[in-house]
């Protein structure tokens, strides 16, 4: 039951944000009484925290998968595949992108339950893209580049419904267009700028 609640909470928090989500919405979606929700998860903020940690763990695991897949390939190929894989993955779980973006800037009205530490994944991202050989040594400027790359993907995933309408595309076209756009933007920067360190 606890896991079912977490699963539903994840989706709803991802769509409506912390304040836009009521505990009753979650309970109703799961098909339980609201006190059952409190029985299993305690306060709303606790549940939200669990959700955020959950998505970060998912993201970390996926980055590991990406890395396995691109290991040993040429830089450009590595980036192409990384972008494809991350994009596909996130499109299937838009709440990850939404919750990530909410986390960057959405404030809450009370002592923030949201200021908990989240695992550092910048190094994982860089490593999974094959841009560093040692995850522990990432410089701030490289971190910013990683942020820009990941956020570019998150944005297209999160904004899908909005942008589909704006661009007058269907979903398939959109996903295809997203991938092309991301590669258009990202690959020249890293490949042509000679920004990638030599692999050990």
């Amino acid at each position: 039951m606890k896991g079912r609640i977490l699963e539903v909470a994840r989706r709803i928090f991802g769509q409506y944000g912390f304040h836009g989500t009521t505990t009753r919405m979650i309970a109703q979606e799961v098909g339980i009484d609201i006190s059952t929700l409190y029985y299993h998860w305690g306060e709303k903020g606790d549940l939200y925290e669990a959700v955020v940690l959950d998505i970060y763990e998912d993201l970390r695991e996926q980055l590991v998968e990406v890395e396995k897949r691109i290991h040993g390939l040429a830089l450009e190929k590595r980036m192409e595949i990384a972008v494809e894989m991350m994009t596909d993955y996130l499109f299937e779980r838009p709440e990850i992108s939404n919750l990530t973006l909410f986390r960057y800037f959405a404030k809450t009205r009370h002592a923030s339950p949201l200021d908990f530490r989240v695992p550092e994944i910048m190094g994982n991202i860089a490593h999974s893209m094959g841009l560093v050989s040692d995850k522990k040594q990432l410089q701030p400027d490289a971190k910013m580049k990683m942020l820009a790359v990941m956020n570019a993907i998150h944005n297209f995933v999160s904004g899908q419904n909005f942008f589909l309408t704006m661009l007058d595309m269907d979903e398939k076209e959109y996903v295809k267009g997203v991938k092309e756009t991301l590669k258009f933007l990202i690959i020249p920067a890293f490949v042509h700028n000679g920004a990638a360190p030599k692999r050990a």
Copy 2:
């Protein structure tokens, strides 16, 4: 009074989002009674709508300024200046970026007052970057590129507080790093890919 309320509402909605913002928060910040707020602006959703339209108008005007400034320059120079100007502008008005991002994916719990039409500014963006000569002719793939560029800026602006901590930087370093990262990412894509159409 009406304008004062709008100004304050803009900031608070930008930080807390629609559901995270209460009408009392706004009234208190302005220093008025809550019914005064309702007297001038009607329902909460109406005020939010006015705020969103307000920021879009601001953004449009700034894009016009950018265009004036870069007119006639070489592509690379145009993009550098456009990125600098837009970044500076948005850092002074983070609510624009926040509200824009909220709009892409944050759902509301009732018949959405948020689904109103907003002026189309993709053409303005492309034009202001000097990437098309006719704003009316933007193809979907070009629009996606514009989106990616603008969203990259919005993300760094919106995420400032979060990223400052993550990256262990002070504000000045951060802004500088943002500009460098954006140029690092954006310029190669457009300049080296030969993606920019010839200027008429």
